[in-house]
Amino acid sequence: MNSKSFERSDHARSGDKADGSGYGPLSCLDVGRCAYVVSIEPHADRDLKRRLLEMGFCNGASVECIRRAPLGDPIEFKLRGYNLSLRSDQARYVKVTAIR
């Protein structure tokens, strides 16, 4: 696992750390990197959890971070062949593992 794929600056904010385990929040994925979705954090708001899952953030789905908006937030992702954007406040509830 390549933990360098996660931005270090965001670590303090998010509950998860991209340490040796290779897991981290989606909000910390670098632009241009891909990752697999592990799960949605259990403590996420139920509606948000459902919406994220319904939009395709399921276990095993591959996600690519396309870009950040000019002011840093929201973040655009590509998954299952389409593009969507999330605020980093929401993306941090998606636990991912970096793949390349």
Binding site: R51, L53, R67, P70, D73, P74, R87
Partner: protein, 743 residues
């Protein structure tokens, strides 16, 4: 389905699909012009229905549902779609069949809705749209394969070319209730569903149990939750699952997606060589399905959308393009619409005069010219601008740029507790708050939508512009154009500031607990279809005329009557006529005397009318703000539309109310004195009035739209109270402070 056809004369078919799946195009292609737009009762969601004839002559009532990602509702739009599909709406018949539009270029996420629709127990047909786009991106889908994998008829369609519409109608005739898919649920979840299903003892118990366990809050499940034994059972099973580290919602949705991944893998055409190999090979018992299909994926070629977004969402270029587009839109609305607005006004006046010339003098004629024609004119004058605004909104939305604008602006608006989708409604509100508020329908988060509606009228709309122009032109004429421009800009700025502060207060206080969410799909760019855009523009503009127009019109007539009655008595009229003749030097032409007499009569008439009396009555209240009764009359009249203030001032100051008379109105205002000799109109009064017009909620038609869009009077009335109280306090402070400073 054919059996039902002979029993019933018309079928009801619901057209469902994800947002951006091209559903509307298919709806238009199916129904042509036989469409009707209404509203679902109690909500602002548009109910679009149309008729189409199937190949065997059966008439079909087609309901175009709002785009939805799922049958679990979050927004009013999604809730309506879900309720229609489940047959829960009292005045909408349960659909006999469902067409689900699937965007082939975004197959997996679109299939999620399909996976839910298959559990619905209604005959289902898939309209596989945008196959051409998917192919261009390197995804070769086979509708036959998809149909086989799903067990549902699948019709490939190119919506905008009307390809496949006949086949879709044909498939509708053969639609059957689809087989329940075998979702690969985790073992404990399957057991939990079985367990609950046995308790329920109903024909569709399994699907029902699944919904109960996954916190579906649809209204048809209420009775089950009211049954205490069932509710306890559901809760205990849910708790047990959580103990086993299974979140029912997550397990359910992930199982759906795992099934979708299988289905979409089966739906892909094998590569050409493989296809030949299959054809040449002796048929194996398992058939072609045992050949590993190529993985669902996308050719590495970068799509046009990706290339466009590299520029349009770029930190520098993207913001530059965005600013240019928005500024262009804004300028176009004001500059392009202006001659049209003038022409409309003139055309209505001319039409009105056709009848005016034939009417005898008297109340009927006055009602016609000053009440009815002026009222219609007051409505129609806004129509070009509003139609143009709706046109631009439709183009932005249809092209896919609207989502990008929301993406770019989200951070800025997020800071004050709104979201990126609030930007366009707020920008539109600079032209008119009504289309702005109507455009908030795209904001799915209720809290953000309410906040946007609440602050939209703070944006200085075009009806305020003539008032700003009159006041600034009159009292700051001595200053350079730069100063005057600066004051105008400050008026707009004050409105924005009030909006920001209000939104922040909202965000930090009673809306604090509501989590805001912003999950925004960035759809592929499309070239907007002219027909569709014109259609959207026409229906929206018509909605404006119907809802706001009737109010503006009625109010104009009422305000006319208030300014018209009671009439001056013949003695009073004679006295004024004599007075004018005595005041003017005898050398002056008779024509000028007549004109002056007429103006004076009008002014005297207004003063003693109901409006004039109300103006006098409220004078003590508005006096601290620096206003006299004449301005009070103007303020009352501006409840029909703010720019009426200018024409009312024209009448009061006996200056006439045409455009050329504005100069003489400015003169008359400057020389007006109180009985003690002090000027009525001073710079502090003008500033105070400007502040009032920036902040006050005076537009009754906006209030009506707010009531409609929020579904409650409390929001509409709260908005009036809040804005007018704010306007009063700020205008009071500004007047008192500036008049002390200038003393």
């Amino acid at each position: 389905m054919t059996a039902t056809a002979s029993l019933k004369r018309t079928f009801v078919v619901a057209l469902a699909g994800n947002p951006n799946s091209g559903k509307t195009t298919i709806f238009n292609a199916l129904t042509g012009l036989r469409q009707k737009v209404a509203n679902y009762p109690g909500v602002t969601v548009e109910k679009k229905t149309g008729k189409t004839r199937l190949n065997d002559g059966t008439m079909v009532d087609l309901i175009d549902l709002p785009g939805t990602y799922s049958l679990i509702s979050r927004s009013p739009d999604e809730s309506i779609a879900m309720q229609v599909l489940r047959g829960l709406l009292p005045d909408t018949p349960a659909p006999d069949a469902v067409i689900c539009v699937v965007d082939a270029s975004n197959l997996q996420r679109n299939l999620y809705l399909v996976s839910q629709l298959m559990e619905l127990g209604r005959p289902l047909v898939i309209a596989l749209n945008m196959v051409d786009i998917a192919r261009r991106r390197g995804l070769h889908l086979s509708s036959e394969r998809l149909s086989r994998a799903l067990g549902v008829p699948v019709v490939p369609i190119v919506g905008y070319k009307h390809q496949g519409i006949d086949q879709l109608k044909q498939a509708l005739l053969q639609a059957k209730i689809p087989p329940l898919p075998a979702f690969p649920l985790p073992e404990p979840m399957t057991r939990a569903i079985h367990e609950l299903a046995e308790v329920l003892k109903e024909p569709n118990a399994h699907a029902l149990a699944e919904r109960l366990l996954t916190h579906d809050d649809a209204p048809d499940l209420k009775p089950y939750f009211q049954d205490r034994s069932i509710r306890h059972r559901v809760e205990s099973i849910q708790n047990r699952l959580v103990e086993q580290k299974i979140d029912p919602i997550q397990a359910d949705i992930e199982a759906h997606y795992r099934w979708i991944e299988q289905v979409s893998a089966q739906a892909v055409e094998p590569a050409c060589e493989t296809l030949e190999a299959i054809d040449n090979r002796p048929q194996s018992p398992a058939g072609p399905s045992n050949v590993q299909p190529v993985q669902v994926g996308f050719a590495p070629r970068i799509s046009l959308t990706d290339r466009l977004d590299k520029v349009l969402l770029h930190k520098v270029w993207g913001m530059l393009v965005f600013s240019t587009v928005m500024a262009g839109l804004f300028i176009a609305i004001f500059i392009l619409a202006d001659p049209l607005m003038g022409a409309t006004e003139e055309a209505i006046a001319n039409l009105g005069s056709l009848l005016t010339d034939r009417l005898p003098d008297g109340p009927v004629k006055d009602l016609w010219t000053d009440g009815i024609v002026a009222g219609v004119g007051g409505v129609m004058v806004f129509v070009p601008q509003i139609a143009m605004l709706f046109l631009f909104l439709a183009i932005l939305e249809d092209s896919g740029y609207l989502a990008r604008a929301a993406f770019l602006m989200d951070r800025v608006l997020g800071r004050v507790g709104l979201n990126g989708k609030s930007f366009i409604p707020l920008l539109s509100s600079f032209a008119c708050a009504i289309p702005g508020i109507m455009a908030t329908r795209t904001i799915e988060n209720r809290k953000d939508r309410l906040a946007t509606i609440f602050i939209a009228p703070f944006m200085s709309c075009s009806a305020r512009l003539p008032v700003y122009g009159l006041l600034i032109g009159t009292f700051f004429a001595a200053y350079s154009p730069w100063v005057r421009g600066g004051i105008m800009f400050a008026c707009y700025g004050l409105g924005v500031l009030a909006a920001v502060v209000t939104a922040l207060v909202f965000h930090k206080t009673f809306m604090k607990t509501v989590p805001s969410s912003f999950v925004l799909e960035l759809p592929s760019y499309k070239i907007p279809q002219i027909g569709q855009i014109v259609r959207v523009m026409a229906t929206s503009t018509w909605a404006f005329i119907r809802r706001a127009g009737t109010i503006i019109f009625c109010l104009s007539v009422i305000l006319w009557a208030m300014a018209y009655y009671p009439r001056l008595s013949p003695e009073q009229q004679e006295a004024i006529t004599k007075q004018v003749a005595a005041e003017l030097p005898p050398s002056i032409q008779q024509e000028a005397i007549d004109q002056e007499t007429e103006s004076r009569l009008a002014a005297a008439q207004l003063e003693q009318s109901i409006s004039g009396r109300i103006g006098h009555f409220i004078e003590p209240v508005i006096r601290p703000l620096g206003y006299d009764w004449k301005m009070g009359v103007g303020l009352i009249a501006s409840f029909a539309a703010r720019e009426v203030f200018v024409s009312q001032m024209g009448i009061i100051y006996a200056a006439g109310d045409t455009e050329e008379d504005v100069a003489s109105l400015e003169q008359a205002m400057l020389v007006d004195r109180y009985p003690d000799g002090s000027p009525v109109w001073t710079a502090p009064v003008a500033i105070s009035l400007l502040v009032w017009f920036v902040l006050a909620m005076q537009c009754i038609s906006t209030t009506a739209i707010v009531r409609r869009e929020t579904g409650s009077w409390s929001w509409a009335i709260g908005q009036i109270l809040y804005m007018n109280a704010l306007a009063y306090v700020v205008a009071l402070l500004v007047y008192q402070i500036t008049s002390h400073l200038m003393r």
